[in-house]
Symmetry: C2
Subunit: 314 residues, 2 copies
């Protein structure tokens, strides 16, 4: 399920030798799907992603089911996948109660999710930015005390649907706060997909200048305007080695209003493989997984690589 001998591997100078893909399809992808996927299908999805070589697979979210009904089965799902060998399975936790649920099931990696803008903090968290950070601080402390690795998501790092362009200092402030409370890594989200490469580089430099080293920064691009892979390439040139992506581009239907699809893992892997950057992922297996998942969802994958490679098999 690959093109014979392609992509040709031709490294570019000064890029990382290896990239860790933080696979978000099972969480960020499925939570944005209209249909709710059966728990056994989700578990099989995570297993197939692991079998394709992904080593960091965000499994689910312990947000209250009222807010994210698509992932209301976190308690049932997590035990079905937690024994997978060689795979990290981070889960989202919104507060102390969510952390309790996650830890009690054996989660060893959790993620909190902040916003760089007041508008999105209000819309998504029903709090101000500072109020949400105040909620996260004890969650992060306790997670760390329990030996868990903590990721801090920052939404709306580039543009915001209500506020337009987001000033760098807002993003830097939230990133610093998350690191200061003990987060191990950050994920810079371009939630509405508006970023371009110069903006990405400017934010990374601003973070570095404020003492945030590149090796704790992950990038999380959405392909709403087709910019995700170009932005990723710019981030790699800056030295970023953690890239979020969603198998098959799951999350936000590209045919619907306010399309906000994630960068497709397959499109990312095609580029990284072409650049000779190791990921450990078997592209053919990953495409097969996304084709299978698209069948479960009853709609084609929006990933261009998935479409191109699966059409060749028809």
């Amino acid at each position: 399920m690959t093109v014979q001998g392609l992509p040709m591997t031709v490294p570019a100078s000064d890029l990382p030798a290896r990239v860790r893909i933080h696979e978000v399809g099972a969480r960020d992808g499925l939570q944005n799907e209209k249909s709710t996927v059966p728990t056994e299908v989700k578990a099989e999805f995570v297993r197939r992603l692991a079998d394709a070589g992904l080593t960091t697979i965000e499994a689910t979210s312990f947000v209250h089911p009222k807010w994210v009904p698509q992932l209301a089965d976190a308690e049932e799902l997590f035990p079905q996948v937690r024994e997978l060998k060689g795979v990290e399975l981070p889960v989202l936790v919104p507060n102390g109660r969510g952390l309790d649920r996650a830890l009690s099931l054996g989660a060893t990696r959790v993620a909190v999710f902040a916003s760089a803008t007041e508008s999105f903090a209000k819309a998504n968290l029903n709090r101000t930015v500072d109020e949400s950070l105040a909620v996260f601080a004890p969650v992060v402390t306790r997670a760390r005390d329990e030996g868990a690795h903590v990721r801090g998501y920052v939404s709306m790092c580039f543009g915001d649907p209500w506020e337009g362009a987001v000033p760098l200092h807002q993003v830097v402030r939230v990133c610093r706060a998350l690191l200061d409370m003990g987060c191990d890594e950050l994920s810079l989200g371009d939630t509405i997909g508006v970023a371009t490469p110069g903006h990405v580089l400017e934010l990374l430099s601003a973070l570095n200048e404020q003492g945030v080293p590149t090796n704790v920064i992950g990038v999380h691009f959405h392909d709403t305007y087709g910019q995700a892979l170009a932005n990723t390439y710019a981030a790699l040139e800056h030295g970023v080695t953690t890239v979020d992506a969603s198998a098959g581009g799951l999350g936000g239907c590209p045919y619907a209003k306010s399309a906000t699809g994630n960068l497709a893992t397959e499109d990312l892997v095609w580029m990284l493989q072409g650049l000779g950057i190791e990921t450990g992922v078997d592209l053919g297996r990953l495409v097969a997984t996304s084709v299978w998942m698209a069948e479960q969802l009853g709609r084609p994958s929006p990933s261009r690589t998935v479409r191109a490679l699966s059409h060749k098999d028809q």
Copy 2:
């Protein structure tokens, strides 16, 4: 028809100040559409593209109608648009007969189309690479004698569906031959969309080393595997200032077998505008043009930017 204040303009260092977009939608786009578009619609499309600020609009092809029935109306179309002010209107010419037809209608820019691989030369031109170059040589000479500007397309510069990865020296040889016979500029085609940024940079460097300056090189990427914009960004970093793109991503339906869509002009303009690189294009008008053209064709545009911005209007 743009997101308020977005994309935010943040230049990256060492990129060109201005890029010339070589718009291929009316030719490369429409010749790959299943349905044949009425001549008056094509003329209106070219006019709207010009109105959106595009200054190089490939209008049609003087290939024999038997081979490209979609563009069989070149003689009717060209006179309807040739008076457009401030716009260059290159046309494809396959041989002396095609050149005669083009010149007799007042064309001042023509393009010949070679292949870097024997397999595609045979499939597309029914000749060997050298035989096709021998056909083009007198065409280019005569076009130049008549004062026309000549572009030389080179297909399959990175990968070939029959031959796999394409050796650099094959591409360099064909590029050199086209320049030596008098072509003013080249367009490096990734016809099956398999290239990645390192490969792009390697080819550009190889061409430079063989005396082909960057300022005669245009890049022509297809988005089959989602790589087109990342490859374009890498080419910009190398100093390339001519980029081919197709309004709305016309050409090769993304939902069909062997999808081979062109880079969408809107996705390109979003990135260039974000980077502060001048193009002269009004993104809102261009999106409106592609939405209109999609209505004529009866299917949605595959451009992510067109989809995102037009959905906002619903």
